[in-house]
C-alpha cells in the first residue's frame, strides 16, 4: 500500500534527545557529576578521568549521542525501512506497522550498542578508533599518513551544532579510513586543528597551538566563487541531467514496484478524460503533449540543476593557511576539506564547449585519498579562464600556471580521425546493411528512414577529430608535467613531477608506423593519470626518460621564496616512509648521493 509510505523513524528516545548534554570544555564538570548519578553509558564521553587540557583528545571518548540517529546516512535508514513495507505490501496494514516497529527497534538497539562501543582518541601522533559490538576493531592511524581531513555538516547536523569528520589516507579505496559521525562541531574543528598542528610538528615547524585554531578561521583568501558563477555552472554542466536521471530511475523503480497501481491510475485518468487514452498507440503519440512535456521537463531540469548546485556549491571558498588549502562549500549542509598542498597529486582544468565560449573553466584538485568517488575531490565549480593560472600557482607553489604546451605531430591527426570515424563508420555500415541482410528486423522501415541522418555522423565526427587533434599537447617543466586532450570537453591535467609514481609508454602497430607514442604518467590515487596521447616518438622518449628520472629521485627545486616557507626547507627524518623500507629507521641527516651503486 504505497500511499501509506514508510512512517517517519520513531521519535528519538531519551538518550538521543539530550542535545544540550554535550560534554564541552564548559560543562565537562557537570557531565562528570552527572555521570555519578545517571548510569554512565548514557553520557557522551567514555568514563574517564580528568581531561588533559593540552591534549583534549588523548583519552578515548565517544561520539555525540545523537550519532545513534545521525550516524547512518538518511538514505540507508530509509532503505532499511522500505524493505518491510515492500515485503508486506499484500498484508494488512497492522502487520506492516508491526514489522516496521520491530525493524526500527532492532535498528535503534544496534545503533545504541554501536555508539556505546565506539570510541576515538588522538594523542598527538596516532588517531585511534575502536569499534565493533561483537567483534572488536581497533584502528590506529599515524598522523603522517593522513592525506585529507574533511568536516561535513548536514542540514540537520547544523541545527544541533554537530559535524562529521572524515579522514582520508592514500590507501582508502571505497570509504574514508576514519569516519566519525557525529561529534560536536567544536570538537570536530579542534580535532582537525590538533591533527594539523602535529603534522606541522612532524615537519619540524613548531607552531603555537593557540594560534592554530585562529588560523582555522583566518588564512589567506585564494578563491571565492560568486553565486552567479555557481548558477552558470549549473546550467552549463552535467548537472542538467540530474533531474532526468532521477525521474528515469524513479520511474523504473516505481514501474517495478507498483506498476499495476500506476496502470490503474492511468486507466482512471483515461476514464475521466484527463489523459488522451481514447486512441492508444494507433495514432501514435500526441506530439503537442510530448512537446509540452519536454519543455516542462527541460525547465524543471534547469531549475533542479540550479537548486542542487546552489545548495552544494554555494559559498564556495578556498583559503590557504600556511601549507594547507581549506576548501569550504555548501549552503544548507556544508563541507570543509583541508588538502595539504604537498598532498596534491593531480589538478585537472576542464572546459566543455559552452564554458569555453563563455570563458569559464572548472578545476578539480585530487589528493591521493581515494574514498571520494567524485564527491570529495575538491572541484571548483566555475571560474574565469583568466583566473586559472593564478589558482594553479596557489595550489602548486612555484608553478606559474599551465606550462608551455607543445602540440603533437601531424600524424596524430590520422590517429584522431581513425578513433572518431571508426565507430561512426561501423554504425553507418550497420544501418545501411542491416535492412538488406536481415529484412525482418526493420518491419516498420525505421532504420531505412534513419539512413541519411546517420550519414551526418561522418562529417561531424571528422570535425571533432580535427578539434581533438588541435587540442593534443603536452608540456614538462622542472616542477610539473601537463597534458591536454579532449574534443567536446577539453581537459588539461597537471601533476607535480615529485608525485610521479611510474611511467608507461605504449605504441600500437599503427602508432609505430606513424612514429607516435602514448605516454601514461601515473600518480597516486584511483584513476589518477596524466595521459599524453600520440606524442611524437622522440619527444615521448625524452618525456619518459626525464619523468622516470624525476620519479626515481625527486629533487626539490628550492627557490628563494620557497626557502623561507617551503616544506622542503626542513630535513627531519620523522616523516614516515611507507615504502618497504619502513623497517629502516634512517640515520638523521642522511646525505644524498647521486648514485652510490657501482
Amino acid at each position: 500500500m504505497p500511499s501509506d509510505g514508510p512512517p517517519p523513524p520513531p521519535p528519538p528516545p531519551a538518550t538521543a534527545g539530550g542535545q544540550g548534554h554535550r560534554p564541552d570544555a564548559g560543562d565537562r564538570d557537570a557531565a562528570a557529576t552527572a555521570a555519578a548519578t545517571t548510569s554512565d553509558w548514557l553520557e557522551g564521553t567514555a568514563p574517564t578521568a580528568a581531561v588533559d587540557p593540552a591534549r583534549p583528545f588523548a583519552t578515548p571518548r565517544r561520539l555525540h549521542p545523537a550519532s545513534v540517529l545521525l550516524g547512518v546516512p538518511l538514505a540507508q535508514a530509509v532503505q532499511a525501512l522500505i524493505f518491510p513495507v515492500v515485503a508486506t505490501l499484500a498484508a494488512p496494514l497492522w502487520l506492516t506497522l508491526l514489522l516496521l516497529m520491530v525493524v526500527a527497534i532492532i535498528g535503534l538497539i544496534v545503533r545504541l550498542l554501536d555508539w556505546r562501543m565506539r570510541t576515538f582518541s588522538f594523542d598527538g601522533e596516532v588517531l585511534r578508533v575502536d569499534h565493533g559490538i561483537l567483534s572488536r576493531n581497533h584502528r590506529s592511524l599515524d598522523v603522517g599518513r593522513i592525506q585529507q581531513v574533511e568536516i561535513q555538516r548536514g542540514a540537520i547536523q547544523r541545527v544541533f551544532g554537530l559535524a562529521a569528520i572524515r579522514v582520508e589516507t592514500a590507501g582508502s579505496a571505497a570509504e574514508p579510513e576514519v569516519d566519525l559521525r557525529v561529534v560536536p562541531e567544536e570538537d570536530a574543528v579542534a580535532l582537525r586543528a590538533a591533527v594539523r598542528a602535529s603534522q606541522q610538528r612532524l615537519k619540524g615547524r613548531a607552531t603555537a597551538d593557540e594560534s592554530d585554531q585562529e588560523a582555522d578561521e583566518e588564512g589567506e583568501e585564494v578563491l571565492t566563487v560568486p553565486m552567479s558563477h555557481v548558477v552558470i555552472a549549473a546550467v552549463t554542466g552535467a548537472r542538467l541531467l540530474v533531474l532526468p536521471a532521477v525521474i528515469g530511475g524513479a520511474l523504473q523503480f516505481v514501474g517495478n514496484q507498483v506498476g499495476p497501481f500506476v496502470d490503474d491510475v492511468i486507466d482512471q485518468m483515461i476514464e475521466l478524460g484527463l489523459a488522451a487514452g481514447e486512441t492508444p498507440t494507433v495514432s501514435g503519440p500526441d506530439w503537442r503533449l510530448v512537446a509540452v512535456a519536454a519543455a516542462g521537463l527541460l525547465l524543471l531540469s534547469v531549475v533542479a540543476a540550479i537548486v542542487v548546485s546552489v545548495l552544494r556549491d554555494g559559498n564556495f571558498r578556498i583559503r590557504r593557511v600556511d601549507e594547507d588549502l581549506y576548501v569550504s562549500r555548501g549552503l544548507l549542509s556544508t563541507r570543509d576539506s583541508v588538502v595539504p598542498l604537498r598532498r596534491v597529486q593531480l589538478v585537472e582544468v576542464k572546459r566543455n564547449w559552452i564554458r569555453r565560449v563563455l570563458g569559464f573553466a572548472t578545476v578539480r584538485i585530487r589528493s591521493a585519498g581515494g574514498s571520494t568517488g567524485g564527491e570529495g575531490r575538491v572541484t571548483v565549480p566555475l571560474l574565469p579562464v583568466s583566473e586559472v593560472d593564478r589558482l594553479l600557482s596557489e595550489i602548486m607553489p612555484n608553478v606559474d600556471g599551465v606550462p608551455v604546451l607543445h602540440s603533437h605531430p601531424p600524424q596524430a591527426l590520422r590517429r584522431s580521425l581513425f578513433r572518431w570515424l571508426r565507430p561512426a563508420t561501423l554504425l553507418v555500415a550497420v544501418v545501411w546493411l542491416a535492412p538488406v541482410v536481415l529484412p525482418f528486423v526493420d518491419d516498420a522501415g525505421l532504420i531505412v528512414d534513419a539512413r541519411p541522418w546517420v550519414l551526418l555522423l561522418l562529417p561531424i565526427n571528422a570535425v571533432l577529430a580535427v578539434v581533438e587533434y588541435r587540442q593534443l599537447a603536452h608540456g614538462l617543466t622542472e616542477l610539473v608535467v601537463a597534458a591536454r586532450s579532449g574534443a567536446l570537453s577539453i581537459t588539461t591535467a597537471l601533476a607535480p613531477v615529485v608525485k610521479v609514481q611510474a611511467v608507461t609508454s605504449r605504441r600500437s602497430l599503427f602508432q609505430r608506423r606513424l612514429g607516435l607514442t602514448t605516454v601514461l604518467v601515473h600518480v597516486a590515487g584511483p584513476g589518477a593519470l596524466v595521459t599524453v596521447l600520440d606524442a611524437g616518438r622522440d619527444a615521448a622518449a625524452r618525456l619518459h626518460a626525464r619523468l622516470s628520472e624525476h620519479a626515481a629521485s625527486p629533487t626539490p627545486v628550492v627557490t628563494p621564496a620557497q626557502d623561507a616557507a617551503g616544506p622542503q626547507a626542513t630535513g627531519t627524518p620523522q616523516d614516515a616512509a611507507d615504502g618497504p623500507a619502513d623497517a629502516r629507521s634512517a640515520p638523521a641527516g642522511a646525505t644524498r648521493q647521486p648514485d652510490p651503486r657501482p
Binding site: 611510474a502 611511467v503 609508454s505 605504441r507 601514461l520 627531519t572 623500507a581
Partner: protein, 184 residues
C-alpha cells in the same frame, strides 16, 4: 617447495644492505613461461571450442566446417605460435634508478617503476607455474595503475629479485631527505 632462501628482509640503520648483486643487463623471462602461456591459453579455449563443436554436431549448417577451421586456426595460433612471439618480445632490466619492462607483440609497452616508489612486492605462483618451477613477481606503487609485473621468472630467482628490489628501494629512500621520503 617454499619461497626459496630469501626470507624476511630486516634492515637496521647503518647496516650494510644485503644485495644479491643482480647487474643491470637486459633479462628475458624464464623460457618455461612459454609452456605456461600455452597451457593457460589452451585451457581458455576449451569451453568455447567445446561449445562450437557441440553446436556444429547439433545444428550442423552447411558452413560448419568453415567455422571449425577458423576456430582451429585461432587455437593453433594462440597456443603454438603466439606464446613464443610474446616471449621473444619480453625484456626486463634493473637499471640504475628503476625496474624497466619492455614487452608486447602488437602493442609495445615500456614500463618504468622507480625503486624509490615501490610500495609492495608480491611473489605468486599458480599450480601450473609451480609444476614448471616458475613464479610471477608484482611490484606495486602508490598509484593504482602504475605497477609492474614479471609474469614468469624462475622460481628460485624470484626471492633474489625481490631482495635486490627491496635493497635498491631502501637505498633510494635513504638517499632522500625526510620530507621527500614520503613517496605519496
Amino acid at each position: 617447495m617454499g619461497w626459496g632462501q630469501g626470507g624476511p628482509v630486516t634492515i637496521q640503520a647503518g647496516d650494510e644492505i644485503p644485495r644479491p648483486g643482480l647487474d643491470d643487463r637486459e633479462r628475458e623471462l624464464a623460457p618455461a613461461v612459454i609452456t605456461s602461456w600455452r597451457i593457460s591459453s589452451g585451457l581458455s579455449w576449451l569451453l568455447p571450442g567445446a561449445m562450437a563443436i557441440g553446436l556444429a554436431v547439433v545444428i550442423g549448417p552447411p558452413w560448419t566446417w568453415l567455422v571449425l577451421v577458423l576456430l582451429l586456426g585461432l587455437v593453433l595460433f594462440s597456443v603454438v605460435f603466439y606464446p613464443p612471439m610474446r616471449f621473444r618480445r619480453w625484456r626486463w632490466q634493473l637499471t640504475d634508478l628503476a625496474i624497466e619492462l619492455r614487452y608486447g607483440v602488437l602493442l609495445h609497452r615500456r614500463e618504468t617503476v622507480p625503486y624509490f616508489r615501490i610500495q609492495q612486492i608480491d611473489i605468486a605462483a599458480g599450480p601450473v607455474d609451480r609444476l614448471l618451477e616458475l613464479a610471477s613477481l608484482q611490484v606495486t606503487t602508490a598509484s593504482a595503475s602504475g605497477s609492474a609485473s614479471l609474469p614468469g621468472i624462475a622460481a628460485e630467482q624470484a626471492p633474489q629479485v625481490r631482495a635486490e628490489l627491496l635493497a635498491r628501494a631502501a637505498t633510494a629512500v635513504a638517499e632522500h631527505p625526510g620530507d621527500l621520503r614520503d613517496a605519496v
